[in-house]
C-alpha cells in the first residue's frame, strides 16, 4: 500500500502528462474493443448468413476415393491395363432407407435433392441453369430460401406440378416474369414446360442467375432419373456437430458427406488470417500507447532522482524503488483501460446504430457489432502488459541509481 501511495502521488502530481498518457491508453483500448467488436460481428454475421444459406451437412452421390473396379477386388491386383472400367450408375441408392438410417442418430431436418444441368429458354433466349429438384416442404426445413423470396412463393412448388422458382436476376435477363411459362431442356435433349411460381433474390449472383428449383418428380422426369436423387441436405439441431455427423454419415452410407466447415475451408482460413491481422494491429496500437507511458515514467524517474535517493537513504531497497515506478506505469495503464473500456463500449454501441444501404435489393442495414467481454479482457490485458513493460524499463533504471551520486549532485 505504501509503495502504491507513493506511486499514485507521483502520478497525481503530474496531472497533465498523466491525463495525456491515460488518454493514449484509453484510445488504444477503446479503438481495439470497437475494432474487435466490428470484426467479430462481421464474421459472425457472415457465418450466420452462410450457415443459413447452405445445408450444415450435404451428402453427395460421390466417393472421396475412386470406386474399386471388380478386377481389383477379385484378383487383389496392383494395376490393370487395357480393361474398361465398370460404368457405375450415379445417384444415391435407396434414398428413403438412407435417410431413415440417418434419422436414427442425427438430430435435425433432412431434404433430398436431384440436381442437374438444364437450359432455360424464354422468348428465344437461353440461360444455362443448375436445376434442383426438391420436395418443397422438406427443402424449406433445411434452407432459408423462403426468406429470400421476392415474388410468388416457394410453397407453390407443392401445388403446381411443373412449377419453377428462379432468381429474379435470371428472370430479368430473360424478360420473364411471375406466371410466365418457360421451357427447360435437359442435357439428354428432353424439353419440358414449367411455370414460374416464385422469384428469389439471395444477393449471391451465381445463385440468382443460375439456380432454379422445381418439384423433385418433375426434375427426375426431365433428367431421366426416375426415383433417383443425388444429394441429401441436413440441417442440424446443433451446428457444432456438423463435422462429426459428416464423418459418421460418410462412413455409414459410403457417400461423400461434406460439413459446412469443410465446404468453406478456404473461407475459415481467411478468417484466421483476418483475425491475426486484426490482433496484430490492436497489439501495435497498444504498444504505441505503451510508449506514451514509457515516456511519462521515464520523465518521472528523471525528475524524481532526488526522491529515489531519499527513499534509498531511508532504507527502501532497490526492489521497492522498482515497484514504485512499475506501479506508476500500471496506474496509468489501469486508468487508461477503464476509460478505454467505456470508450470502446460507447463506440461499439454507436457503430451498431449506424445505418447504410448496400444494394437496392437489400433494405437499410446496420454494421454488424458483436459485444463480447473477451474483447475487453484482451484489450485490457494487452494494455496492462504494455504499461507494465513501459514502466519496468525506467523503473529498473531508477532502482540502479546510486543515491550518493544524486546527493552529491544536489549539494
Amino acid at each position: 500500500m505504501l509503495l502504491l501511495k507513493i506511486a499514485a502521488t507521483h502520478v497525481r502530481n503530474r496531472m497533465r502528462q498523466t491525463v495525456v498518457s491515460t488518454l493514449g491508453v484509453a484510445l488504444g483500448v477503446g479503438f481495439s474493443v470497437a475494432m474487435a467488436s466490428l470484426m467479430e460481428g462481421s464474421q459472425r454475421d457472415f457465418m450466420t448468413t452462410l450457415i443459413e444459406a447452405i445445408p450444415h451437412v450435404e451428402i453427395r452421390d460421390e466417393q472421396r476415393e475412386p470406386a474399386q473396379q471388380p478386377a481389383t477386388v477379385l484378383y487383389d491386383a496392383v494395376a490393370f491395363h487395357g480393361l474398361r472400367p465398370l460404368e457405375d450408375l450415379r445417384g444415391i441408392r435407396n434414398p428413403t432407407e438412407a435417410i431413415a438410417s440417418l434419422r436414427e442418430w442425427v438430430q435435425g431436418e433432412f431434404a433430398q435433392r436431384l440436381s442437374g444441368q438444364a437450359v432455360l429458354r424464354y422468348s428465344g433466349q437461353d440461360i444455362g441453369m443448375t436445376l434442383v429438384g426438391v420436395v418443397p416442404r422438406r427443402e424449406l426445413a433445411v434452407s432459408k430460401i423462403s426468406e429470400d423470396m421476392r415474388q410468388g412463393s416457394y410453397e407453390a412448388l407443392d401445388t403446381t406440378a411443373n412449377g419453377l422458382v428462379i432468381g429474379r436476376k435470371a428472370a430479368n435477363r430473360l424478360g420473364a416474369d411471375l406466371g410466365d411459362t418457360v421451357i427447360l431442356t435437359s442435357a439428354g435433349g428432353i424439353a419440358k414446360r414449367f411455370k414460374i411460381v416464385g422469384l428469389f433474390h439471395t444477393g449471391v449472383t451465381t445463385s440468382d442467375e443460375g439456380l432454379a428449383y422445381a418439384p423433385l418428380k418433375a426434375v427426375q422426369i426431365l433428367l431421366e432419373k426416375p426415383n433417383i436423387i443425388n444429394g441429401i441436405s441436413i440441417r442440424l439441431a446443433d451446428i457444432k456437430l456438423a463435422n462429426a455427423v459428416a464423418t459418421r454419415a460418410e462412413r455409414q452410407l459410403g457417400y461423400k458427406a461434406i460439413s459446412w466447415e469443410e465446404a468453406n475451408e478456404g473461407l475459415m482460413e481467411a478468417f484466421v488470417v483476418r483475425n491475426a491481422i486484426m490482433y496484430t494491429v490492436v497489439g501495435a496500437i497498444l504498444v504505441v500507447a505503451g510508449f506514451g507511458i514509457f515516456n511519462i515514467v521515464s520523465t518521472i524517474v528523471h525528475e524524481k532522482a532526488r526522491d529515489i535517493a531519499i527513499l534509498k537513504s531511508l532504507g527502501f531497497p532497490e526492489t521497492d524503488i522498482q515497484q514504485i515506478f512499475v506501479l506508476e506505469g500500471l496506474v496509468i495503464g489501469i486508468l487508461g483501460a477503464i476509460v478505454g473500456c467505456l470508450l470502446g463500449f460507447g463506440l461499439s454501441s454507436y457503430l451498431a446504430t449506424v445505418k447504410f444501404e448496400v444494394t437496392t435489393d437489400i433494405e437499410m442495414t446496420r454494421l454488424p457489432i458483436h459485444f463480447s467481454y473477451l474483447h475487453y479482457v484482451l484489450a485490457c490485458s494487452l494494455a496492462l502488459f504494455s504499461s507494465g513493460v513501459a514502466g519496468f524499463i525506467p523503473a529498473r533504471k531508477a532502482a540502479k541509481l546510486n543515491p550518493v551520486d544524486i546527493i552529491r549532485g544536489a549539494t
Binding site: G315, P317, V404
Partner: protein, 240 residues
C-alpha cells in the same frame, strides 16, 4: 533478515566501526575520497566530522551510513560486518538502525511533514498504524512543529524543514543519526534550533549522532571531533 551471526566480529561493543576504510572513485585518474580510516564510535556519542572542503567528510559519512560501499576495508554496525551484505540487507540495516539528515532537508515534496515522518515507519512496520501516527505527531511536537503537521515542505521555512528532517531521521528510533551539514543552509537562529534538537536526541534517547560540519563553533560544542585532511584522519579527539 541480516545474516548477523555469520559475520560477527571478534571485538565487541562499538556501535560503529570503520576498519581501514578506503573509497576510491574510479576514473581515468582515480580519485581517493577516503583513505585507510579506522574509527570506532560508541553509543550516545555526539561526534563532529570536520575538515576542509574536499577532505572526504561527506564521503566518510555515506560509507558510515551504508549508502556507499568502500573500495577497501570494512564497516561494522554493532559488530556485524557489512562488506558481504546484499544491497537489500544494507537497506534493511539503514531502515532499522540509521537515520539521515542532509544539508538540504531532502524531504519528499509531495507529502506533508507528518507523511514524511510516517513513510519510514510504515516501511518498517514495527508499530501499529495508530501508534505510528501518535509517535510521528509526538516527534514533531518535540521539535516544536505541532502546528505544521499538514504542511508540505514548500510551505515550511528552512529551519522547520530541517527539523522535520531530524524528526524523520528519528522516526524508527535508530541507534545512529548521520547528519551531513545539517545546519549548512540555515541562518543562525535555525542553526541553534537544529543543533539543540540533535543535542537533546543524544541526551534523551541515548542515540549516537555523527555530524559533518564546517562550522567550527558548532563542532567545538560536540563531545568528540574527527578531523579529516585529504581523506585521512588528521586527528580524533574527545573535547572538554
Amino acid at each position: 533478515m541480516i545474516p548477523a551471526a555469520a559475520t560477527r566480529s571478534e571485538t565487541a561493543g562499538s556501535l560503529l566501526e570503520a576498519r581501514s576504510l578506503t573509497r576510491i572513485l574510479p576514473a581515468v585518474v582515480p580519485v581517493t575520497l577516503v583513505e585507510d580510516v579506522n574509527i570506532k564510535i560508541e553509543r550516545a556519542e555526539f561526534v563532529a566530522i570536520t575538515g576542509p572542503s574536499g577532505s572526504g567528510k561527506s564521503s566518510l559519512l555515506y560509507l558510515l551510513g551504508l549508502l556507499d560501499r568502500p573500495t577497501a576495508g570494512d564497516m561494522l554496525i554493532e559488530d556485524t560486518r557489512t562488506g558481504d551484505l546484499s544491497s537489500a540487507d544494507l537497506a534493511r540495516l539503514r531502515l532499522e538502525k540509521i537515520g539521515f539528515v542532509f544539508q538540504f532537508h531532502f524531504l519528499l515534496p509531495e507529502f506533508t511533514a507528518l507523511e514524511n515522518i510516517l513513510i519510514p515507519m510504515q516501511k518498517l512496520g514495527a508499530l501499529p498504524a495508530k501508534s505510528q501516527l501518535e509517535h510521528a505527531e509526538g516527534l514533531l511536537a518535540d521539535l516544536g512543529l505541532e502546528d505544521y503537521l499538514d504542511r508540505r515542505p514548500a510551505q515550511l521555512s528552512g529551519g522547520q524543514r530541517q527539523r522535520v528532517a531530524v524528526a524523520r531521521a528519528l522516526a524508527n528510533s535508530p541507534d545512529l543519526i548521520l547528519a551531513d551539514e545539517p545546519t549548512g543552509s540555515l541562518d543562525s537562529k535555525a542553526t541553534e534550533q537544529v543543533f539543540d534538537s540533535l543535542q537533546s536526541i543524544v541526551k534523551r534517547q541515548n542515540t549516537t549522532v555523527v555530524a559533518v560540519t564546517h562550522d567550527m563553533e558548532l563542532a567545538s560544542r560536540m563531545k568528540r571531533r574527527i578531523h579529516l585532511v585529504d581523506g585521512r584522519v588528521d586527528y580524533d579527539r574527545v573535547q572538554p
